[in-house]
Symmetry: C2
């Protein structure tokens, strides 16, 4: 790949991530990206068909790097991950996130849309507060309340999503069972 192409591509990605950390994807304009990246308008469009394709390629590149890196570490230090602790894979991911290798945190923390789910979760959290003692009795642990509340609400939302995606074949009772057996 031409050095010029590489530099331009990198400049666009960098500018895009910087903008994503500040504002919602939908509110970022191509004009802002090319201004931040300091490139010409036509140049942008010779690299990416649209703004959406830019996001798509950014995601692919990012996750490809991270998860491939993890898999490689697996095969290299095979013994560690097989024998030592069964949870080290996730611990590893958390550690990568803490280091914030690829500005993933900016992408995760930015207020990316989903106003609807925000409302849904917010209301569910209020509900979860009143139900909290019930859950805490089942398992005795030292989790912060806010974590519990968030987890209950999130699991509910995700259960509903899974339900819908799988054609809602299960009865509400069955889904409730599912929900309770993981929460």
């Amino acid at each position: 790949m031409d050095r010029r192409q590489r530099k331009t591509r990198e400049a666009i990605f960098t500018a895009f991530i910087k903008l994503l950390s500040k504002k919602d994807f939908g509110r970022i304009t191509v004009g802002e990206i090319i201004e931040q990246a300091d490139i010409g308008r036509a140049t942008f469009y010779s690299h990416f068909e649209t703004k959406d394709f830019l996001l798509k390629e950014l995601c692919e590149e990012l996750f490809c790097h991270i998860f491939d890196a993890m898999n490689n570490e697996h095969s290299n230090h095979h013994h560690i991950f097989d024998c030592d602790a069964p949870n080290s894979v996730f611990l590893h991911l958390f550690q990568h996130l803490k280091k914030n290798d690829n500005n993933i945190l900016e992408l995760l923390s930015c207020q990316n849309n989903e106003l609807f789910l925000w409302y849904f979760k917010n209301n569910l959290q209020k509900l979860a507060v009143s139900q909290l003692p019930m859950f805490k009795n089942r398992k005795s642990d030292i989790l912060p309340d806010s974590f519990w509340i968030n987890h209950i609400a999130s699991t509910f939302v995700e259960t509903v999503r899974w339900w819908i995606d799988n054609g809602m074949k299960q009865s509400p009772e069955t889904i409730t069972e599912y929900f309770y057996s993981v929460v």
Copy 2:
């Protein structure tokens, strides 16, 4: 409220929900809404400042109705929810969703943005597949594998979100503990 206002407002909401069930929020134009609702352009803007405010008000109205209705049922049949089953609140929500009272399913199932989280979850699910036997050994139950996989991935994402929102004070090890104690 003037009858004309009510009718117009209802027409806008109905048109908006119909469009939301077909396409992403960001791709819906005001022109499409007013065409679907069969109202004048100026009328739309006399009701809602922008498209975003329309979504906001729709969410508020929707969740207000649903959760208020649930709370009322609570106070009316107080005995049922206090004595009978501790999980009936959530069962109730699932039942409401199954009936699809307010077209909530369309709103939940539509591909509302979040391409980034989609990629994140997708990669985590692949990871979860390989870790699945580990989790299933701990609890013996009859949950579908796809549900388990989705739950593990979702809980991870939501744990990260909670972590970020609370300032990332915890160490990766602690967060991993949190994650495993709920999963």
